[in-house]
Symmetry: C2
Subunit: 173 residues, 2 copies
């Protein structure tokens, strides 16, 4: 069975939805695609760092559309690992764990990895929204479209925009 | 720079000391080497599972002798990663993080990995006290002696008994 490393933020957890909501609550403006596309999260949301360190930011993030259903199927055909660069924000660990247990109850503790750098990850396929993780990975790489990477050339990574595209790409018809 | 994956429990954190202390507190008997050598932790300490899930078990574990000093040197010559199979005990994550920050302040968050299975770890060298982790690793393997593995053949892994031996093995004279 092939191993897949699946990122959390921006892949299965919709953190942009959280940023937009919290930014709107603070500044009274709902940012549009035009406001955020092609910008880092820090450039798009001036208080991004404050938001990610707020209690509940990760715990209440919506699940990315179709992620739970497609992941359930992937879990039958692959050795599935959730690999999240969670160490930068220590308080996020408990929230992320509780979030995974709630939304992805079929993912066992053996399948969860919280790390800092992903250069230590060995798998056959990596699904991630950040070039910094994909570029140093030696297996098959899948770039999940998020506003910050939307305008960039996907380089040698296969770009997908939705979990339905991942389903078509990785699962038998 | 070569990557090293260093285990926590039984390698840099002296969990046996914790088990023996808690067992003595509960049963009034200080177990000796003869009582615990060659046995799994669960076989050696009948309430092992209760102890590891007790608040403070990981947070107050003593540092393994010479580990802090040798790790500091390793950190200059290698890409050092602390890789702990911490996911089985969710409450341990915060304790382990705080413990690392206290005793190994030179280890950055980028260098910490909390996982379930270590089959997803890619490094050049792995230091661990468990065969289940070393046997599936493709790089150089170093077995750190602990009571549970003391009587076993170290197989193709290099056995070390102390951090001073690791120093001699991996650092220039």
């Amino acid at each position: 069975m092939k191993r897949i490393s699946v990122d959390m933020d921006g892949v299965i957890a919709n953190v942009y939805s959280q940023f937009i909501t919290m930014h709107a609550a603070e500044f009274g403006k709902i940012l549009s695609a035009g406001d955020v596309d092609g910008k880092t999260e820090e450039a798009a949301f001036e208080n991004a760092r404050k938001y990610v360190t707020s209690p509940g930011f990760f715990r209440t993030a919506p699940v990315m559309e179709d992620a739970a259903e497609v992941m359930l199927k992937l879990n039958e055909h692959y050795k599935l690992f959730i690999v999240s660069a969670a160490m930068e924000f220590p308080t996020s660990l408990i929230e992320k764990q509780a979030w995974l247990n709630q939304h992805f109850p079929y993912i066992g503790w053996q399948q969860i990895v919280f790390c800092g750098s992903k250069e230590i990850i060995k798998a056959d396929i990596m699904i991630d929204d950040h070039f910094k993780n994909l570029n140093y990975f030696t297996g098959e790489t899948i770039l999940f479209t998020q506003p910050h990477n939307k305008l960039a050339d996907s380089l040698h990574h296969k770009r997908v925009n939705t979990w339905r595209e991942i389903e078509k790409l990785l699962l038998p018809r």
